[in-house]
């Protein structure tokens, strides 16, 4: 075992670095800090160890050790299930729900990141092993580590998701009432009965128009899960006025059936239109919501 220490130790370290680089504690507070982060950090150590020892095990002719990788895959699928379940459970306690599509996306990301950790370790160990045949240990470890960091950067790029700002333009929009119908840029959203609520909407509501850049974006943004994700993200960042007994102020997104444009209205704690635009722009495009009709023959024909 110690014979391969020069392969195993750097691989595990880089694997852990890759996991930590993906564990961001930001406004989403997911994974929750400190306990959620800690358990994912530990899982990161486990998966990087698995990636790191795969090659030395093969070198020792312990071919059965490779089946551990399959075990690891099973383990990470469980991580995904676990994340999904826990998010679904806490979703009921949210004023503005994440929605199942967003939850699925987060769970998928956790699984993928564990694989990323494992692969980073595996790549580093292979590189160090191969280089060690030509160079002294120190250089092979050094080059292996540098390549490992490059791998991490590449993986980051490969699994990073688009944001709404990249597939759509966001403009401020006007809020008004037609009788009891709340309208944004003349698009009817819902019926607000109470006069008091209408007054609050006119005074405090902020709204944006989300204009998709192409047919792909129209299809993606029409997804209900994607819309829920935007609502949730914005209400986490700007705060939401809604309470359980005041459902009038639930943030709402409506789609213009003619053009595919969306309008989004929210009565936030901080009515700042600039921040609203930034928050909408930075929402990720969900993997499960993404559609590409333009990549198909029929879709391209229909678009022009």
């Amino acid at each position: 075992m110690l014979r391969y220490g020069y392969i195993i130790v750097p691989s595990i370290v880089l694997g852990i670095v890759s996991r930590i680089s993906m564990l961001r504690v930001d406004y989403r507070q997911y994974p929750s800090y400190p306990q959620g982060v800690f358990s994912h950090f530990t899982l990161g150590i486990v998966s990087s160890s698995l990636g790191a020892v795969a090659l030395p095990a093969l070198l020792e002719r312990e071919f059965s050790a490779v089946t551990f990788l399959a075990l690891a895959a099973q383990q990470f699928r469980d991580v995904r299930n676990l994340e999904r379940q826990s998010l679904e459970n806490i979703d009921k306690t949210e004023l503005v729900e994440r929605g199942t599509a967003y939850i699925e996306d987060i769970a998928k990301a956790f699984e993928a990141r564990n694989y990323m950790t494992m692969l980073t370790s595996l790549i580093v160990s292979v590189v160090i092993f191969l280089l060690n045949k030509f160079l002294i240990k120190f250089y092979s470890i050094l080059i292996g580590s540098i390549l490992g960091i490059l791998t991490i950067v590449l993986f980051h790029k490969a699994i990073s998701r688009e944001t709404v700002g990249e597939i759509a333009d966001i403009y401020p929009a006007n809020v008004s009432f037609e009788g009891s119908i709340l309208t944004v840029n003349n698009m009817g959203i819902t019926n607000i009965g109470l006069k008091k609520s209408r007054k609050i909407f006119l005074e405090k509501a902020i709204a944006v128009e989300i204009v998709p850049k192409d047919e792909n974006a129209i299809a993606t943004l029409s997804n209900l899960g994607q819309r829920k994700a935007i609502e949730h993200n914005v209400s986490v960042q700007l705060g939401v006025r809604k309470d359980l007994d005041e459902p009038d102020f639930t943030p709402m997104i409506t789609r213009d059936p003619d053009t595919g444009k969306l309008v989004f209205i929210i009565v936030s704690m901080e009515p700042d239109i600039e921040c609203l635009i930034i928050a909408v722009k930075r929402t990720v495009v969900l993997e499960s919501a993404k559609r590409k009709p333009l990549s198909s023959y029929a879709g391209r024909k229909a678009a022009d």
């Binding site: 009921k92 009788g179 009891s180 019926n191 607000i192 009965g193 109470l194 006069k195 609520s197 359980l244 007994d245 459902p247 009038d248 639930t250």
Partner: protein, 64 residues
């Protein structure tokens, strides 16, 4: 919250009796505009529903 009925009319509050014909929904008759608004608010607080205006003197309470 999740096992409650959604998008159903829970109650009707009206000042105009002639606009309503029976049904399975509780109907609350109000004397004037002010009372109608008040009853609607009270009902919405209890049912956690949203108040919608039918613009004919009727409010409906719906939980979404």
């Amino acid at each position: 919250m999740n096992n409650q009925t959604k998008n159903n009319i829970l109650a009707i509050v009206t000042t105009d009796e002639s606009k309503i014909i029976g049904g399975s929904v509780p109907i609350f008759l109000a004397r004037d505009e002010k009372e109608r608004e008040r009853i609607a608010i009270l009902l919405s607080k209890v049912t956690l529903g949203m108040i919608h205006d039918l613009e004919n003197g009727c409010y409906i309470i719906v939980r979404h």
